[in-house]
Assembly symmetry: C2
């Protein structure tokens, strides 16, 4: 699994909530392009916008036809500026037999049958243990009547968002801290790319080491500078995420072929 | 030398000139981060915004204290949204003896002496053949009196912008077309990265091959897909530039060490 982690203070150098929302959108795009499956937001007491970042990231990842089930919140006021992710789970409203789609369980019948909204007028019955409001991934078996079954897509489907503590994050296997202060990885260093990987980024004001020190957390794991010889004084968080994921994606591809 | 080339139709899918300006800013940032020395805009008859793109790119590359010499133009109306490049040539106003700075020749005396504005009140005399209005790169030899001499910086200094024809561009050595339709380069393919390299990008609507066909231009050179296994339907131009430059930068570093 490929994960990235950003601090809750990731947007500390922006004041405008519209620009903050747009920047989260850029991070969501980078994650979608390079098939990141999990985005972790770790707590930085300097600025804790974890829930705001999570709400916007989850909104961006939700197929358009299911966004009506997301409660209206202050944190989602500027989601209009988000660039569309265009991931395979973002299907058009028009349904095709055989395709896999996202749905939301909108009702649970007394007999336990779940009724699922997959983006068309009719609801589909589903045998499932999921709760009302839960997202489900289903295959469309028939259109008329509408029949669906739970399914697992083979292609990249989207990311999950998680809020965590840096200390817990650093206990994971395959942790890589990204920092300008570190060495650029050699191809040998990158052999680990076959396994699970969590790329940890710092805030615009402080690197992961500084945040960890402030939190009294011991840092372990690899540490990479993925932009050797950078031509600018500072690289922005969304730029660093893009640059790092691009290299990781390419080298994972090299390892696979 | 590292160059990138984009079509004059690069912003065809945006209508708002403010957003167009912002996107050019993102491209400028990507080029600065990865030390691109030349940005070429090649003519696509479908939409020819070459001059607009050039004006904004050149404005972004100009040190803040020299921007007053750029004539006010319609194309520069929204330059306020440009992110700062923070490249080494963008020095603060405060002058340091020994440092290298950008200047503009503001006057040519009858004896041929050039008078250069390097961002402070006093003008510096300079022996040079450059014309009035030309940019020069100088070393500050002394502050009081202000003495400068022409100099060549060792660090990355910025990019030049050029308008060209695709046909001419494709005749260069080290041309690489980027396209989703191509193969992802192996490490062997990337040996050429030590030499001059021109990375050619298509427009949001058409790839380089389609544009070349429409222009009746024969395509030659390498062709790379730098985002193998992409998780989204379409990658935006600025995202493709970022992703490609990141890999090229990393692999050039590997070749150098």
């Amino acid at each position: 699994m490929l994960s990235i982690a950003i601090p809750s203070s990731a947007l500390i150098n922006e004041n405008d909530p519209k620009i903050k929302t747009f920047k989260i959108g850029l991070i969501a795009r980078a994650c979608a392009i390079f098939r990141v499956e999990e985005i972790v937001i770790y707590r930085d007491p300097k600025l804790n916008e974890s829930k705001f970042i999570r709400d916007v990231l989850e909104y961006a990842e939700t197929p358009q036809y299911l966004r009506k089930y997301i409660p209206i919140k202050r944190s989602l006021r500027y989601v209009g500026v988000l660039p569309p992710l265009k991931i395979p789970s973002h299907k058009p409203k028009l349904l095709k037999v055989g395709e896999i789609r996202e749905g939301v369980i909108v009702d649970v019948a007394p007999d336990g049958t779940r009724w699922v909204d997959v983006g068309v007028k009719a609801l589909a019955p589903l045998k499932s243990n999921a709760k009302r409001g839960a997202r489900v991934t289903v295959r469309v078996c028939s259109k008329n009547p509408l029949v669906v079954e739970e399914a697992k897509p083979k292609e990249y489907w989207g990311y999950k968002v998680k809020i965590s503590e840096l200390g817990d994050l650093l206990k994971r296997k395959g942790v890589v801290i990204t920092s300008r202060r570190c060495k650029t990885p050699s191809l040998n260093d990158l052999k680990s790319l076959k396994t699970d990987l969590t790329l940890i980024f710092g805030s615009p004001e402080e690197g992961v080491f500084e945040i960890a020190e402030r939190l009294g957390v011991k840092v372990r794991g690899m540490c990479w500078n993925t932009i050797p010889m950078q031509g600018v004084e500072t690289v922005r968080l969304e730029e660093a995420i893009f640059a790092t994921l691009s290299i990781v994606n390419y080298l994972r591809w090299l390892n696979e072929v």
